[in-house]
Symmetry: C2
Subunit: 188 residues, 2 copies
Amino acid sequence: MSILSSLLAHNKQFVEERQYEEYLTDKFPDKKVVVLTCMDTRLVELLPKALGFKNGDAKFIKNAGGILTQPFGSAMRSILVAVYKLGAREVLVVGHHGCGMTNLDARGIVDKFAEHGINPLAVEVLENAGIRMEKFLRGFGSEQEGVMHSVRMIRRHPLFPPAIPVHGLIIDPETGALDVIAEDFREE
Amino acid sequence: MSILSSLLAHNKQFVEERQYEEYLTDKFPDKKVVVLTCMDTRLVELLPKALGFKNGDAKFIKNAGGILTQPFGSAMRSILVAVYKLGAREVLVVGHHGCGMTNLDARGIVDKFAEHGINPLAVEVLENAGIRMEKFLRGFGSEQEGVMHSVRMIRRHPLFPPAIPVHGLIIDPETGALDVIAEDFREE
């Protein structure tokens, strides 16, 4: 049973009751901030509230771990678009305690492929084509390491403006408490 | 003047007043859904509300345009981690009307590099190393095309379970109204 129909029923009511009125804003981030963070379910509402951001205040880029793995991938492109097209003037990288990308078990994921209908040949073909599961499904050693990796990759990126500060933070996914681990990070 | 200090002052109060209590949940998505969508500021609070999702119901993966550009990039890895590690059993790709990634003007962005302190040599080096700005900073022809591109890439991905439905939707960034453009998309 798909969730889609119940979700669309809710949506119809949401629009009819004009519940959207309290969220009206425009596409430019009012606080001129772009946030790179984790897709974790606990952060969906908690993180904007813990930052004091309402709808329209910031761009949020999210993936597993809030990590940049490729300097010319979609996450880094998003940061550059936020800066050059949408006026973002500050970057926050926000990791969280208890992140599932800490010591992600690639082998454990690969072992589940068969029961989900993936042909073992597919993995063999990928591995032989140079796409290593251990590399593709890797996380980081600690949340701090993950955040600092992303902070450094942004700061050192050849197309990222040197005048824009990049901060690294860790959030408690229960209380929303933020710790700054890198403030206005600059290369020495 | 950095936004960081005002943000941290808000955060201290948020924690002290135990405002987090209404958001307490765990890392598993209660509605077993993973959503790939756009980083647009208008969707930060509006999209979860328009879907009827509270904190803890879904994983949200976000980037500019809600687009998968690489089958082995961070966004696709995030979808696979949500499915294999966190029990997601349905995928929603949600584009929106008026998305800035529609006919993204790569040249216009490149023209702004110099005023932001980027050495023109950097762009030349990248281009000569095979990293084409026109390709890296490309969007899509329409929101529908962007959503369907991502839906197809997920559905066809060699490591994505064939039994999991992938839906494509477009949201109105003002009213939150959702249109389904691909329901439970399967290859013919």
